[in-house]
Symmetry: C2
DNA sequence: ATGATCTCCGATCAATATGGTCGTACTAAA
DNA sequence: TTTAGTACGACCATATTGATCGGAGATCAT
């Protein structure tokens, strides 16, 4: 449950790879092309290409056309959060399909719904979680994330 | 993205309803039957029935057969966590499909995978989040959940 | 200039997961 | 024994996702 799609998975791998090439190595300005990533991680080439296109369109990476072309991070690895990557591929975070209701399109349960508020809170918490971790964190040291919930232990506030 | 299934949604609604009937009212021992819930929240009857069967099989609720039958919480609302409910319906929490690898069934990327560790950490954080909120929390006061991450402090949404 | 190499983009197909339905058997209270 | 309810398993329809294909543009080397 709560699985993220393969595309999102690929996006994370690709970005991580691009970042690691651009970062720790002696070739700072080197661009990375699709095939290189696809072969390294055994990802279907065309599918990865599509994923990268989307990432590029959403301003996470820059594309360079022609031979010797490829992709480049659009900004520092520390300024790209996991949430941005995932939302870029899979659309806005919506734990339930009526999280972001558009138009007059209410779900039938809306009126008597007893779980909307709590679910939105959970969703928001998850969002914070994802938005507090960056590509940079994935590269370097293991990020430390702690969660505190007053319920289920001593009630504090 | 990260959507939970409708079945899980229904499960939450149903449990919340059962709990609220059993709790705040003057009818402590009253059982709740499937049709009552289905009509109240406009859920397809048969589908809800199936969901409740699963919950019952997993020991979250008790079923009582025959006329005047119905369902009853198996334990206190404070002892049922959101994680338990969701996992009961959708199986174990697995943010990526290779979270819990079984047999020799590795994913192809396993060897060179650069995102496994961070993703598992995120998954664990989400699990804590869900496991720290109980049915009781959803019923009563709004639970307060806070997240603290030392990295990426500047990132705000 | 011209061809080779690469990204870009839209359309399309296949596999899988999900939502929803049906029919029957079983149980316990009235 | 009748009847209102759950239990259970098989089943179909649809939505989502994973993956593929083909061509159009762009850029660089020659
Ligand atoms: S399920 Fe849509 S508002 Fe609660
Ligand atoms: S994707 Fe399977 S181990 Fe990373």
């Amino acid at each position: 449950m709560l699985k993220i799609s393969k595309k999102a998975d690929y996006a994370l791998m690709a970005l991580q790879h691009i970042a690691s090439v651009q970062f720790g190595d002696i070739t700072p300005g080197r661009v990375v092309n699709t095939k290189e990533i696809a072969e390294e991680y055994h990802i279907p080439l065309e599918l990865l290409a599509k994923v990268l296109q989307v990432l590029s369109k959403n301003g996470l990476i820059e594309s360079h056309n022609g031979p010797k072309g490829g992709y480049l991070l659009a900004r520092s690895a520390r300024q790209i959060t996991i949430a941005q990557i995932l939302e870029s591929i899979e659309g806005p975070l919506a734990i339930t399909d009526c999280s972001h209701e558009k138009d007059g399109d209410y779900c039938m349960q809306r009126e008597h719904c007893n779980i909307r508020t709590p679910l939105l809170k959970i969703q928001d918490s998850i969002y914070q979680l994802l938005n507090n971790m960056t590509l940079g964190d994935m590269l370097g040291g293991t990020p430390l994330i702690t969660i505190q919930s007053p319920s289920a232990q001593g009630v504090e506030r």
